[in-house]
Symmetry: C2
Subunit: 426 residues, 2 copies
């Protein structure tokens, strides 16, 4: 597929993350104005809430679905409506659009640089997976040795656990270093302290746009996915180490989960489909994919100390995963678990086979033992106060890119301990 | 505290679960009518949506909060408004209420027996805990032996994991036996099959009515709890055994979670407060309770085979728990995890020290090894198709009871396996 040309020149470059081929869904505001649904194109945002109200482009002829500052009502309309809307918007923005279309879009659009971006959808529930083989092998090797790196179920199940939807924030939101129970390996008892091994995890998030009750096949699950975001699953490794047996991570993963501000439509990624790797153990039939369901998305992680320049500390690709989001969603529904519009599924940490392709500090510094050097001097075992972590990603087409926008967040110091947590009377 | 007398005679008996002292919050409909918010009193439901619309009893003078069929908007008003509303409703229903009050309530109430009950609130997120020491000891003994029964963190942390809010259903909803990946102990590989070890778990659920950002003390957490429900955390033990390492239960707990139709106000339970047991290990200061925060609530579990009479298979008390819901909520927020109105916290399985006080089949049948005899003949290791499990609970006052209504559900056979799950082409 080639670049689709737009009459908005900034959308026609090889570098823009937002050519006409993309049309990602976001929520924005300008100054003190209302939050509105928007679609990015080049260096502008099309105010689709405005286009809907003006009757220029309506997703649903009967009801406004873009008047709430979230894409959930639009998602509820289903895949046929998504495709119609995308075709309508493409026509308004394409090189051959008429004057009326150009006038309407000019009226209802703003420069991206002037906009504040918000969470693009209401997160119904958030599930995180553990579906990258390199990541699971690295972590397992550190904790259990290379012979027992992968748990016995790993090659059969896309392992997942429920996370906390309330913790999901949009790119740019600062993250405060959490307090929690931690226990030193040589200590008998835990203490309550700020996490000293705070980390990021490079992931892709799939946004469920079609609800289900009962089992769904992998093919059905794939069609239920509205789009994808970049996702940073911030993780307190020391809290996790003490809390996670026997029922899994809880507070270690609940401080924050940052997502990129744009949902890239599954339709925009379709030309970049890529198969999951060869299986070392046959999957049970229900999990087998009828076609390639990963995507070739180049990913990178950059770390910048407070006031300093950034170092790219990892480069990898979403195509490294062992299970696709469609397989994860299929497995998620096996028990009859109802899936809902606005559910967010984290892919699991995306690491590649090389050392420079590891998607977490835990792996990059091998549990804190091998510090990572920063370009401007200094090194990191885990994150330090003031560090900014930025995830970036794009699919590379012939002369164009499908980008996600940055997924970034700065780590702020832990808050002061409240008196009651020291045992003082309230 | 003594029985508060009402002019509705059925509320003045020693047996009714719904005396004037209770006033639990529910959602009901009659015939094909709309869903409305209601409060149970004796054998009637007061239609508080109707009272609000008529201006007889308004929780918020400015806005309708009981017009959506859920108590969330009411909860958003906060504890002072809850207390005012409760006082207002008590005045309308008390023995000395005037004729106008009686007329209004008579107009806006229906017989309980005619009503269909629905989920009383929109569940924002659902968290389940593992905070009963007898339960954790029983389960740990079965899996790891008596010496290692409790995990090392158990006496320090109210262990919890995130569950699936979309799976929560109201009492009376049938539950379909789930499919899932299971692996026999002597098998090398898993297979996809209906769960053969499907179980219930007797729990209490706390409903969060006040949101938080950042840490909250145990006292603050206690004041954030709007009320309590009975909760059955249906569990597929064989799915759980294969999936839960290393990230905890997932599909094993996602089929359904049944709650009783009435949220019993924390205010109604206040006279029944009871301290948590003596600590075997000092808690960290942040988790210490400023006063008694469990409740003396007698609980029972009844099992009835399809078409057969019921056997009470367990009797226990919520006062057996090691951690209170307030402690759980405090711990839940330590990492900065935002808590929201409508969050539901499952207490964890409530088992007592005796064999007949165990809150799950797993414990009652000791992993399937000691079948439980049923009154009408037959026995159970785990649940069979057609079985109905009913949880009941009440706090016993002097001449009155605070009841929850039944929390019941029938297990239906697994659905037929879809062709695609057998590997057939879709």
């Amino acid at each position: 597929m080639a670049l689709l040309r737009s009459w908005i020149d900034s959308a026609n470059t090889a570098e823009t993350p937002f050519p006409l081929n993309n049309l990602p869904y976001g929520v924005f505001s300008v100054g003190e104005g209302d939050l509105r649904c928007g679609v990015a194109i080049g260096d502008r945002i099309v105010d689709v809430t405005g286009l809907e109200a003006a009757g220029v482009l309506r997703a649903d002829p009967e009801a406004d679905v873009l008047d709430a500052p979230a894409w959930n009502d639009f998602m509820e309309l289903g895949p046929a409506a998504w495709a119609r809307f995308r075709a309508g918007l493409t026509a308004l923005l394409a090189e051959d659009a008429g004057e009326a279309a150009r006038d309407a879009v000019t009226t209802y659009s703003v420069p991206l640089a002037r906009a504040t971006l918000h969470l693009p959808f209401r997160i119904s529930e958030y599930t995180d997976f553990y579906a990258g083989k390199h990541h699971a092998t690295n972590v397992g090797t550190m904790f259990r040795g290379p012979e027992n790196a992968l748990p016995p179920n790993w090659l059969s199940i896309p392992i997942g656990y429920n996370g906390r939807a309330s913790s999901v924030v949009v790119s740019g939101t600062p993250v405060v270093r959490p307090w929690g129970q931690v226990k030193a390996p040589d200590a008998e008892l835990p203490r309550f302290a700020p996490s000293a091994r705070f980390d990021f995890e490079l992931e892709l998030g799939a946004v469920v746009g079609v609800p289900s009750e009962g089992m769904v096949s992998v093919a059905q699950a794939d069609a239920m996915i509205f789009g994808y975001v970049l996702l940073n699953d911030w993780s307190a490794r020391d809290i996790q180490a003490w809390e996670y047996q026997p029922l899994g991570p809880f507070q270690a993963k609940a401080t924050a989960t940052t997502i990129s501000p744009w949902i890239v439509p599954a339709a925009a990624l379709a030309p970049f489909r890529r198969p999951t790797p060869a299986r070392e153990r046959d999957l049970l039939p229900y999990l087998r994919e009828p076609g390639p369901m990963l995507y070739d998305i180049a990913l990178e992680v950059a770390l910048a100390p407070d006031g300093g320049g950034e170092t790219v500390i990892a480069r990898t690709n979403y195509g490294e995963m062992y299970y696709s989001s469609a397989q994860q969603l299929c497995h998620h529904a096996t028990s009859g678990c109802p899936m809902r519009v606005g559910d967010l599924l984290g892919s699991g940490t995306i690491s590649g086979p090389e050392k420079g392709a590891r998607g977490s500090m835990l792996e990059l510094s091998w549990g804190g033992k091998e510090p990572v050097a920063l370009t401007g001097g200094g090194e990191r075992r885990f994150l330090e106060d003031g560090d900014t972590v930025t995830l970036r990603g794009h699919a590379q087409g012939a002369g164009y890119r499908i980008g996600f926008g940055e997924c970034t967040g700065q780590l702020l110091p832990a808050r002061e301990m409240p008196g009651w947590a020291k045992g003082e009377t309230e």
